[in-house]
Amino acid sequence: MLLKRKEFLKISSLATASVFMPKFLKAFETKNIVPPGNRVLVVLQMSGGNDGLNTVIPVRNDIYYGARPRLGITKDQALLLTDEVGINPALPAFKELFDSGSLGIMNGVGYPNPDRSHFRSMDIWQTASDSNRFVYTGWLGRYLDAQCDGCGKPTQALEVDDVLSLALKGENNKGIAVKDPKRLYNTSNEKFFKEINAAHRQEDEVVDYLYKIMSETLSSADYIFQQSRLHQSSLIYPATELGRNLKTIASLIMSDINTKVYYVSLGSFDTHVNQENQQKRLFTEMNDAVSVFVKDLKNNNRFQDVVIMTFSEFGRRVAQNASGGTDHGTANNMFLISGGLRQKGLLNAMPDLADLDEGDLKYSVDFKSVYATILRQWLDAEDVSILGKKYDYLNFI
């Protein structure tokens, strides 16, 4: 090919994007900036369907060991939380959090008529829809819609990833996916884009919509990058993907950025075969990264302002399969980690293994109740309009 990158794209000087904002958007530029010290939610998505029963283990339950002669984690191996319950041995930092009152474990979380397909069940969790409805907006996207109408910078919700999840897509507002603030800054900071953006005059609805998104992206890329450089952590994060991602999140939480929600994924927990090694590897990555992250927050006196919530699209079947793994199941547990929990430890009863639905756990808590609690009690948002229904609040925050 004849075109050379530099012939077409000339990397710009460090001029800030706001200079190039189209006039009709400029008015929104500084609205709704959230002051530091505000509460933040970090969602950690465990993609692939994490096996909850080998995460929080009923160490005195014969049904559990009967269903998992090979995969069951013995009482000796597990890190004991109580006489009855242990946690996976690859999660020692979570045991510490439990012991120090910074971890809540919600058992039996699910929804009616569970779907065992990854993509469908993930959609249900991300959109917070009933399992027979198809919704094109995510629960955090609708939170943005409710909070952020007219915000110039859609940085209230950030996903540390290259691609934005449905969870963060609202009707009118969408979060921003940023894997690496510097890279986003570089790719957005091209003069050509900035100039066509600045030259655009309001025309018709759809073109304007695209320019609005472009404009927001260019200015957010600048903003996120500048903010991410304000705080450099003195701690060393693990050299894993989650380690890097949580480090990015920590640097932003410690800055003045207006972000209320961070979203990050880890996977794949789809352990049909050879579960033990795969879950151990992922748990180790999660354990080590979360451990430093919490320390970082504590050092900066922000741990009481942050809730980390984990979830997976489903749990796995109670019985092991023939290949050293487990197949897709239903209800699962969630971790809630914060220095500001109202209720800690085991938040409710362990799942009843004697009362199964064709080999799968029955749910006891609708995940939308967890969302409702977080929206209302933590983010001060209108949970009913965001979730479309009133769900009972829980007491963990």
Partner: protein, 478 residues
């Protein structure tokens, strides 16, 4: 070169009824009428499509060698895993083969309609055989009769499997299939009761398929009792249910409305919709007549309908490649684009298909869209890593994940492009190119692309201007 209204209308037709103009078309579009151009599109799509067959020898041989479904259960874990992986790989080949067809075929109208039906009859199964069969059904009937299309799709192994009708038995009815046939394929939500779903499901009991993907009725699983469905009573089977659904005018309206939104405008004009759907119903669901009612009507070419449709990722990709002919060293990179932009062929997000419109656009997808022309033209690196897909990966690292392609290597053949614009005097070039590439009323300020274009030669100026204008928000629309 002043913008010719006629040229713009013809380009509008080519973007909506096809995948956009090729450089060869540029100088033909000024004079031909829309009626004649549409006539050409119809004619080129009239013969039967060649069927895709990309299933590998391994899969092919296996399926042909297996006599009944019980043999599947005798497979070892490793054999199953291998077959599944092979199927996933073959599915990628089917994706690329179809994409190539969209780019290169003359039968543009048929493939465009097929892409619409592919979203309407959304289906996610791993079995390459089933998918291939469903795609072939769709392509054969894309411009035919909707009733035939609906019947064949409803009897395809892919759909019966995806919507769990294999599990729909007299003793244990499974309502999934009946519900989606009504909610998504024919009438739409709110036009029937839950009781109708239950009764419809009873009628579909026993519909299934064998391992070769052939439709089978299993009499022992069928409920022979009397059912009441949409006010009619009888010992209905699945065919009766489909006929009753087709007899509802609401079905014609639901399909017409979806087609209107896809091909004309997201904002419905009720008067037009009523007229179209009434005729669709009277014409016994003749799809080609419905499309002619749209594309041969003056209102289709009104300004409010032009340049307002956000191209789907596939439309964008195919449109670029039709205008800039190129060979890609690693064609698989197109799968990564599809994934990162939110539309992977054969992997719709759910049974309702791709929502489309503004749902395509967020900060990351828009910025990638703006960079794709440069990436394809070797001017930029591709460093995005889309999310993994547990449905195809089964938790196995690296099965589906492609290494980052980094630099995408392509060999672009600019000959036709240069020929198309070669006669245009330099000072008119940018306007000419802009008029060909952009359908929006809003245009990019000409001074900016001009500033960044390579002015060392006229050829370079043409090439760089095309890539630049494709890298704009305006080019996302058609």
């Amino acid at each position: 070169m002043p913008a010719s209204g006629n040229q713009l209308k013809n380009q509008h037709l080519l973007w909506r009824a096809a995948f956009g103009p090729m450089p060869q078309n540029v100088n033909e579009l000024a004079d031909i009428s829309q009626k004649d151009l549409y006539g050409v599109l119809v004619k080129k799509s009239s013969r039967n499509p060649e069927e895709f067959n990309v299933a590998s020898n391994l899969f092919d041989g296996f399926i042909k060698g297996v006599q009944d479904i019980t043999m599947l259960q005798k497979l070892t874990q490793d054999q199953r895993k291998m077959l599944r992986q092979q199927s996933v790989n073959d599915l990628k080949n089917l994706n690329l083969a179809w994409l190539n067809e969209m780019i290169n075929t003359d039968a543009q109208l048929r493939e465009k309609m097929s892409l619409f039906w592919h979203g309407h009859f959304a289906c996610r199964v791993i079995n390459i055989y089933f998918h291939q069969q469903l795609l072939n059904i769709i392509r054969e009937n894309a411009l035919g009769n909707f009733g035939d299309l609906l019947r064949e799709v409803s009897k395809s192994a892919a759909m019966l499997s995806f919507l769990n009708n294999q599990q729909n038995r007299k003793q244990h009815p499974n309502e999934n299939f009946a519900r989606e046939v009504m909610e998504l394929f024919t009438m739409g939500r709110g036009n029937y009761t839950e009781e109708d779903v239950k009764e419809g499901a009873r009628a579909f009991t026993g519909w299934g398929f064998n391992i070769h993907g052939d439709f089978v009725k299993r009499p022992f699983a069928h409920d022979n009792g009397i059912k009441t469905f949409l006010g009619r009573t009888g010992n209905f089977d699945g065919d009766d249910i489909i006929n009753i659904l087709l007899a509802q005018e609401q079905t014609a309206r639901f399909i017409t409305q979806k087609i209107y939104k896809y091909f004309v405008n997201d904002t419905i004009d009720n008067e037009k919709l009523n007229w179209l759907s009434k005729r669709f119903y009277q014409n016994n669901y003749d799809i080609q007549k419905l499309m002619a009612d749209i594309f041969l009507n003056d209102w289709f070419y009104q300004q409010k309908n032009m340049g307002t449709h956000i191209k789907s990722p596939v439309e964008l990709l195919v449109g670029i490649r039709r205008f800039i002919p190129m060979e890609l060293d690693k064609p698989e990179v197109q799968l990564l684009f599809q994934r990162a932009l939110g539309q992977i062929l054969f992997y719709p997000p759910n049974v309702a298909g791709w929502p489309g419109g503004r749902n395509w656009i967020d900060s990351s997808s828009l910025m990638l869209r703006l960079r794709i022309p440069q990436i394809l033209a070797n001017a930029d690196e591709f460093v995005i890593r889309p999310k993994d897909d547990d449905d195809t990966m089964m938790g196995m690292e690296g099965v589906e994940r492609m290494e980052r392609p980094g630099q995408v290597n392509s060999t672009v053949n600019w000959d036709e492009v240069i020929k198309a614009f070669g006669e245009t005097p330099w000072e008119n070039l940018q306007l000419h190119i802009s008029n060909v590439l952009l359908q929006t009323e809003s245009k990019v300020d000409p001074a900016i692309p001009d500033k960044y274009a390579d002015k060392q030669s006229k050829e370079n100026y043409i090439k760089t201007t095309i890539v630049e204008l494709m890298s704009t928000p305006e080019y996302q629309l058609c």
